[in-house]
Subunit: 180 residues, 2 copies
């Protein structure tokens, strides 16, 4: 289906509460473990979502509206969360993500986007010309790719514990398809 602003916002609105319900106060044995070297734990993913919320979606949407495709977006640092999440707890990160998402959604609504705005073009540093509509759709799919990743990271911790069921669960066959 086409990107539709109200559908996109309805999904973006729900992600913080869904992650909160899944992860808050879940034992560290689930949330602090990753899938091996250079991979994220669930804790890391929330830190990454926070960094994206601060530096990626709204700043890029604003740049499209202000400068079109004349200026490329700032590249996104996929590992910045390692520095920024230090000495924070998972509940703190979940609170921070929820607050930032709420601000972001307010910022989108304040833009009072018209249908023609969605076709406006920007420049991604790796992908080239993209539209505001594609950016907004990607924001929602970025949430989903990280929910997909978190479910896989958690399942990975029980890959041996399930014994012969290992062969039956798609999530245990998923190699991440690159990152994430």
């Amino acid at each position: 289906m086409q990107q539709d602003l109200s559908r996109t916002l309805s999904l973006l609105t729900r992600t913080p509460a869904a992650l909160d319900a899944l992860l808050r106060d879940l034992p560290d044995a689930w949330t602090s473990r990753n899938e091996g070297e250079n991979t994220f734990s669930a804790f890391d993913v929330i830190g990454h979502l926070i960094h994206a919320e601060r530096t990626n979606w709204i700043p890029r949407a604003s740049l499209i509206l202000q400068s079109g495709d004349s200026r490329a977006f700032e590249p996104f640092d996929r590992w910045a969360h390692l520095r920024e999440s230090q000495r924070k707890s998972l509940p703190q990160l979940l609170d921070e993500f929820a607050a930032l998402r709420s601000e972001s959604l307010g910022a989108v609504r304040a833009l009072k986007l018209q249908p023609a705005d969605l076709d406006r073009q920007g420049r991604h540093p790796a992908l080239g010309v993209v539209t505001l509509s594609q950016l907004l759709a990607s924001w929602a799919v970025h949430d989903l790719t990280h929910l997909h990743q978190i479910s896989r990271i958690l399942a990975h911790q029980y890959r041996e514990a399930v014994g012969p069921w290992r062969a039956m669960f798609g999530v245990l066959q998923c190699a991440g398809h690159g990152s994430p």
Copy 2:
């Protein structure tokens, strides 16, 4: 890590609220669409989780404790939800799943399982001999494989809308690894 009953229950406890936060009142355009012929929508997945809750986990755990591996589990019908979910709404299914999960967790606690019980063996109709511990771990991973699937089904709806970002999201590369 090894299956640990309190860790398993902590995850099983959270799934209904996580799915509720993600899906309740999300537009039908997200929740009623699937990934193509013979695949599930998010609505279908909740129906499937309900069917599993009724017929799979607690009945199989009880059979292990009562009969060991002398009797195979009843085979599980992966498509029963199509019949059972008819004329229900997604909010009804979410309520039903939450209520059944709460009952199941009460039933597990009532079993007062001791460490030695976790090694007791049962017989899966396709996988052969399995332990109660593996069954309990699989119950949690079954939740996670369906959360993984739901995030993929939702993302699939925006696979065109994201434009060139399509190549960057793992969730859009995931072919499901069989079902689900």
